[in-house]
């Protein structure tokens, strides 16, 4: 298996980016939902809740860093070609979905960071305090809180469509599109 992408398949680096980010992002969406609903009726409960918020922020910054490197890597590599059996519309919608996923993966953590900064709350990357992106502003903080939740929903929906398309290629088309991003080899006919 190649480290770099080829015309037929993604390389090891691209696959690692894909799978690691998949696990972190999906976990983050559910963690976001979970921690938001945690009670804080006692100081202990509040500390517990805040510790999850800190973890959520750390992994959010990690995603932001990863997506920048991932995009850089994608640009420095050939993108595997779509099989001839795919129609123009299918190829176009696949590209549009990939573009959407990249945009959301970038803005989602950025909105979270802005929401914290506008709210006057520090963002730490596993303990290392990062600069605030903006001065305190309650209305702006609320705006980005909403935006952060909305992009999470869009991301989840986009992910479902993306995964469904991949499984469609795997089970029905059997055109090797799924296997390009997999560590598995294509099932023999």
């Amino acid at each position: 298996m190649d480290v770099k992408n080829t015309d037929n398949s993604y390389g090891i680096i691209a696959k690692l980016f894909h799978n690691i980010m998949f696990v972190i992002i999906l976990g983050m969406i559910f963690l976001g939902k979970y921690m938001h609903g945690l009670p804080s009726d006692t100081p202990e409960q509040m500390l517990y809740k805040m510790s999850w918020y800190n973890d959520h922020k750390s992994f959010g910054i990690l995603i932001l860093v990863l997506v920048v490197f991932r995009l850089g890597w994608r640009m420095a590599n050939p993108v595997p070609k779509a099989p001839d059996s795919m129609s123009k519309i299918e190829i176009l919608s696949a590209h549009a979905m990939h573009m959407l996923l990249y945009i959301i993966m970038f803005v989602q953590p950025l909105f979270g960071w802005l929401m914290s900064s506008y709210g006057g709350h520090p963002v730490k990357f596993f303990g290392l305090e990062l600069p605030a992106l903006a001065d305190k502003d309650k209305a702006m903080s609320e705006f980005f809180h909403e935006a952060h939740e909305i992009t999470a929903i869009i991301l989840l929906l986009a992910f479902i469509v993306h995964a469904a398309a991949a499984l469609f290629h795997y089970t029905f088309r059997r055109d090797g599109v799924f296997e390009r991003m997999s560590f598995r080899t294509k099932k023999p006919d």
């Binding site: 009726d41 006692t42 100081p43 202990e44 500390l47 809740k49 709210g119 006057g120 709350h121 903080s141």
Partner: protein, 184 residues
């Protein structure tokens, strides 16, 4: 020049203007914000519903009075947990004590545009004397605005019971930032 004119006008009229003309607070331009350190981070919120009865005249401070009534059921905060918790039994206990009240008992000019007003603050079942330091940012015949700050200790009023007495979690010192804009 305007100040001289006003002074002369006031000297010429010994009638107590202050008593005759109460100020009407402008809701949308008045605010009471609070700030407290929670786990080392300044966290803040706002009391969004309150009324103020104001009689104020910088040249007759002994006649001036202010009575602020805060509806504790209307609180907003950046972290929604703060607003939700504050209404509960361990904090303001809104079901039992729905309002907070500040009734002045004396104004004092500190120099320039700076003043202080001491008064009785009632929170839960405790009444204590507190001081609001404020700047008279605007004052003319129809419009007046004050911007002030009161620093108080929540534990003096039993706000934050049980485990919440721990000041390493939530600091005792609370900063109240008050803006009152009024017209008459």
């Amino acid at each position: 020049m305007k100040a001289y004119f006003l002074t002369i006008l006031l000297l010429l009229s010994p009638v107590a203007y202050a008593q005759d003309m109460p100020w009407q607070m402008k809701d949308g331009e008045s605010s009471i914000n609070f700030s407290v350190i929670i786990e080392g981070i300044a966290s803040d919120g706002e009391f969004t519903k309150f009324t103020a009865d104001i009689i104020f005249d910088p040249v007759s401070l002994d006649q001036s009075r202010i009575d602020i009534l805060i509806d504790l059921d209307h609180i907003e905060s950046f972290y929604s947990d703060v607003a939700i918790n504050l209404k509960k039994k361990n904090w303001f206990d809104v079901a039992q004590y729905p309002t907070a009240r500040f009734v002045s008992n004396g104004f004092k000019h500190l120099g320039g545009k700076d003043y202080q007003v001491t008064g009785e603050l009632t929170l839960r079942d405790v009444t204590r004397t507190e001081t609001l330091y404020f700047t008279l940012t605007q004052y003319d015949a129809q419009q007046a605005e004050i911007k002030g700050r009161m620093v108080l200790s929540r534990l003096d009023y039993g706000v934050g019971q049980g485990g919440w007495r721990d000041v390493s979690s939530v600091a005792s010192q609370v900063f109240m930032d008050v803006v009152v804009r009024a017209e008459r």
